[in-house]
Symmetry: C2
Subunit: 350 residues, 2 copies
């Protein structure tokens, strides 16, 4: 099959491997692209030099299209009182693993909105696609990337966000349903959220927006991709489907949970990173009960605590504090090589 979006992306199949910062790898992206889908790299946690190296590694493995994803969150203001209270709240959890929380928290990731070095790397490396999460790039950034011949793709969780992204020059828009794993792309994590699902959001955006829509959230097999296309999407973006692939950087605890009955339960929570994200229900998500949104430090400051707690727990053999991102389709995850999975997905679509 083909359509305007697939021609724009220069891919054979309507299958995008979701960028999944921290979980995707150049090997995964290359396997997907070599199989005719669109492989993706999540650059948010890498910094500009890491991004340059990752893109180069992809290029060593594949001559085909590549999507790289960056985060457009507002740079958080530190709030020492909230951060100290949060660390106090986590102190008993650290103590279970003979650890103590850090004295203070750092903001781990630079927003793309403030990352001139990343922009420069991308304008030179010229991946086929740059996609955005948590909002749109600045006008100047969008212009620079477009002038480099790069296709721009935004992520929307509502019609309002979709319209804003189209106005910002996005050439295609990912409709991210509430069931999607990992970080919810909502622009303002403290604003109202209608929690629109893949089914409703894809159909509404496909009818209302002037650019092609990619459906994301809960899509795990060829039947799901075909269903997304029937809803008006031009392609489907799958993340959780690729987490258990051998090319994934997911750790052993994440993989084991995903392939177990634990996959039947996911939770949308901001306790891990400071922004709403969907995770397999585990010991970390269980902490969310009783926590008010305002208790959690801003994204990604809270993530600094989350990662240190996970490291302390893992050091004692407890995997249950991992950021075990997964969508509601998790019970259908398969541990296949990424390229082989794409071949299967295409066969199942028929």
């Amino acid at each position: 099959m083909t359509n305007a979006l697939l021609r724009l992306l220069a891919v054979d199949h309507p299958i995008v491997q979701a960028p999944m910062a921290g979980t995707s790898s150049p090997a995964m992206a290359a396997e997907v692209s070599n199989a005719g889908g669109l492989g993706s790299l999540g650059l948010a946690a890498m910094g500009a030099e890491g991004a340059r190296a990752a893109i180069a590694e992809f290029r060593d493995r594949s001559p085909r299209s590549l999507n790289v994803n960056v985060f457009c969150h507002a740079t958080p203001k530190a709030n020492p009182a909230i951060e100290a209270a949060w660390l106090d709240r986590l102190r008993p959890e650290f103590r279970r693993f003979d650890a103590t929380p850090p004295a203070s928290l750092r903001s781990l990731y630079t927003s793309f909105l403030a990352d001139d070095a990343m922009l420069a790397v991308l304008a030179v490396a010229k991946p086929t696609v740059v996609s955005f999460h948590f909002g749109a790039p600045t006008e100047a950034q969008a212009r620079a990337l477009r002038q480099a011949g790069i296709v721009l793709v935004g992520t929307a969780t509502s019609l309002d966000e979709g319209k804003k992204l189209a106005l910002a020059g996005m050439q295609a828009i990912v409709a991210q349903g509430y069931e999607a794993g990992g970080h919810r792309g909502v622009f303002d994590p403290d604003g109202p959220d209608d929690r629109l699902t893949t089914f409703a959001l894809t159909r509404v955006l496909a009818k209302a927006l002037p650019v092609p829509v990619l459906a994301a959230g809960g899509i795990m097999d060829g039947a799901g991709i075909a269903a997304a296309l029937r809803l008006g999407a031009s392609a489907a973006q799958l993340g959780t489907a690729f987490v258990a692939c051998p090319e994934s950087l997911a750790d052993a605890g994440h993989r084991a949970a995903l392939m177990s009955d634990a996959a039947n339960h996911t939770v949308m929570t901001r306790v891990i990173s400071g922004r709403p994200a969907r995770c397999l229900a585990n010991r970390f998500t269980a902490l969310a009960g009783g926590v008010q949104d305002g208790d959690v430090p801003r994204y990604p400051i809270a993530y600094d605590a989350g990662k240190q707690l996970d490291a302390a727990a893992k050091a004692k053999g407890e995997p249950g504090f991992g950021a075990q991102w997964a969508g509601q389709g998790a019970p259908m995850a398969r541990a296949l090589p990424a390229g082989r999975l794409v071949v299967e997905l295409v066969a199942e679509m028929a």
Copy 2:
């Protein structure tokens, strides 16, 4: 098209009009069934005599299949302290409309689990299908209805509920996604809820259950029905799509909100009835902020307060306290006659 479920239901098209207690009507159900879909009546608010009359009115209008729906909730225990506190909380809202809350609250609807008269009416009237919400019927009830030649259909919001319903003898199961309008069918409203969406739940249930699955939630047009079938459903159940039909009992305020920009925002809340239900965002749902689940009287005791508040508000021209049930597909609602809508849906599926 046909399949095993459509043969079982004796219908031409994979389209079920959702029962929607208080909103569906014999005229609506008959129009849908006469057009080759499955028309449904929600009996929960009627009592046995009302049900007998409604089924008879359907029969006067259509010789075809009929689905009637009953509620299998646990009969609530009164809790005068919680109910009095709830009425105190609503007092300022009543006062805005020159009204006072009632001195106490009643449980408005008898659960089917305790309704021998309703069972007797159904066993005699023999609708094609009896479907169940909030749980399964008792073993004796299921046996009596099956012996009368009636097809039994359950409603599941999770794999666990789906398995229980299959074991209870349900011959088909509605996979009700989180995006669906009206009352969420979850068996235990106070238990954990994974909020599975139509996309994820339909696919998981279709793969795991031994009986056919109907998809419900966010499905508004032929594209949505076709997508649901691709996910493995044997039919789609549409509620919100029929709310604006002339045969609907929805009031003017509900219709006006549904056909306006207000349709872009729905909220899952228990403040209206005591159980989680999805409603257009309005003045009533806005009260949910700051309300803890335990503050709200049990279903359907809370509904007594909700209906009286709505009546007081409406009497002063304020429609915003209505139980304006709608799913996330609400922006796609159409004000077409129900039979005409079925014809359009079938055409759109092609």
